[in-house]
């Protein structure tokens, strides 16, 4: 970057922006594309899921909660696997962008998991007859929610952001054991929650008229998830860059005779 050649104290932190800078330029055009694609897919998905798709033979209209609930559940687990990969990158390669993305990802993941729990609760009351039970599936998803929240809180709990990122990465990797528990809880133990309909080895237990809008809504929510995560990460990179520039300016003001060369804003 153009800041190469500043004094050793700041070159360490400025070097960290080599990658994020390229990231900003690279993803400059992605955000509008992702957002529009998500809007279009979700817009059609709402019409398809809420009006065009058939009722279920035993659950009636209530089955339409599935078009939000199931994508949220998949995103909660898939997003967590993403967080685990970012944590690996952070711990092994000390990738600064992975730290930033993980930090921005966890509140979004917590929101998605909360929506999964909420819609599931709204679905459970009319169908099962209860808002909540402590069966293995529901409890393990609640644990997943707390892992997301815990990660979001932990990475922000340290004065040194690098230390927070490392602790968060360790927590995220330890929490990965919960993901297969969420997935297979309905097979390993008897639960009130029914087993998987789509992600199983044999054919989906779902008529295509219900399956296709579900997959379409999943695509839409995934695009929206990626768009929000990308926007948050870009904002965080820019925020950090602004802060670095401010710090450099403040240091320059404090030590006018220092060896530091001027940093262009």
């Amino acid at each position: 970057m153009e800041n190469a050649g500043s004094n050793p104290r700041s070159s360490g932190s400025l070097h960290r922006f080599a990658n994020p800078g390229r990231f900003l330029r690279l993803t400059d055009n992605w955000l509008p594309w992702l957002s529009w694609a998500a809007l279009i897919v979700l817009g059609t998905g709402i019409v398809w899921g809420l009006w065009l798709a058939p009722r279920d033979w035993q659950q009636g209209e209530t089955v339409r909660i599935m078009f939000v609930h199931v994508p949220m559940a998949w995103l909660a687990m898939g997003g967590y696997m993403g967080l685990a990969i970012l944590s690996l990158m952070s711990l092994i390669w000390r990738h600064p962008l992975a730290d930033l993305t993980a930090r921005e990802l966890s509140p979004i993941g917590a929101a998605v998991t909360a929506l999964c729990l909420l819609t599931g609760s709204l679905w459970g009351k009319p169908m099962w007859g209860t808002w909540w039970v402590w069966d293995a599936r529901l409890t393990s998803v609640l644990v997943l929610f707390f892992l997301w929240l815990g990660h979001a809180a932990l990475v922000r709990a340290f004065d040194d952001p690098e230390r927070g990122a490392r602790m968060g990465a360790i927590l995220a990797l330890v929490g990965v054991v919960n993901v297969p528990i969420v997935k297979f809880s309905v097979d390993w133990w008897n639960t009130l929650h029914q087993p998987a309909s789509v992600t199983r080895l044999d054919a989906p237990g779902m008529h295509v008229d219900i399956l296709y809008p579900l997959l379409w809504c999943t695509l839409g929510f995934t695009l929206a998830f990626m768009a929000v995560t990308l926007a948050a990460t870009r904002a965080a990179v820019m925020e950090r860059r602004v802060r670095a520039l401010q710090m450099a300016a403040a240091r320059r003001a404090d030590a006018p005779g220092g060896a530091m060369r001027s940093v262009e804003a």
Binding site: W57, Q58, M127, G129, T130, V133, W134, N190, S197, P204
Partner: protein, 174 residues
């Protein structure tokens, strides 16, 4: 060995340790993590009267009776079966929408002295098949599936089924 490689190996080692610890714990808890017990479990090992537990299974065909009183309110009596054994249940209160004969239920309560399970709460289970009512009708009409006798046939047979037409090879006329 570079530092990156060493970090990778340390993480792999931790993953193996954590994974096997979790696997062992889950295996140890296997029997305690059940949400409900089946009638066969109860017949094999009857919990003492006054001890609350959950009983799960299917509502036996033709066993639902709405007569008499239980705790001063209209009683609902039915039998919960898992095929091998059945346990009579008495309940009063609001049943979930999905409650019907042949449906999976989970009831919470305790055994009475007379061998009847006194339920405080009845929850409905449903299976993982979703299909339009017309397809369910077509399957039932063609004799491919009786909901009271368990789950629907493999979805490969019907998930492209046109609701307007009965399944292939069946008599026509709807």
């Amino acid at each position: 060995m570079t530092r990156k490689k060493r970090r990778l190996y340390i993480l792999l080692l931790c993953a193996i340790g954590l994974g096997s610890a979790t696997a062992l714990t889950l295996t140890a808890f296997q029997d305690n993590l059940v949400f409900f017990r089946s009638p066969s479990d109860i017949v094999r090992e009857t919990p003492p009267p006054g001890r609350a537990f959950r009983l799960g299974g299917l509502v036996e065909e033709g066993s639902v009776q709405r007569q008499g009183e239980y705790q001063g309110r209209p009683a609902i009596r039915f039998r919960v079966t898992d095929g091998a054994h059945a346990i009579p249940v008495v309940f009063t209160g609001v049943l979930p929408d999905l409650f019907r004969e042949g449906q999976g239920v989970v009831t919470q309560g305790m055994m009475g002295e007379d061998g009847t399970f006194r339920a405080r709460e009845v929850l409905a289970r449903h299976d993982e098949t979703y299909m339009p009512p017309e397809v369910a009708d077509a399957l039932k009409r063609s004799g491919h599936w009786n909901p009271a006798q368990g789950a629907a046939p493999p979805a490969a047979n019907w998930n492209t089924l046109d609701p307007q037409r009965p399944p292939a090879g069946q008599r026509s006329g709807s």
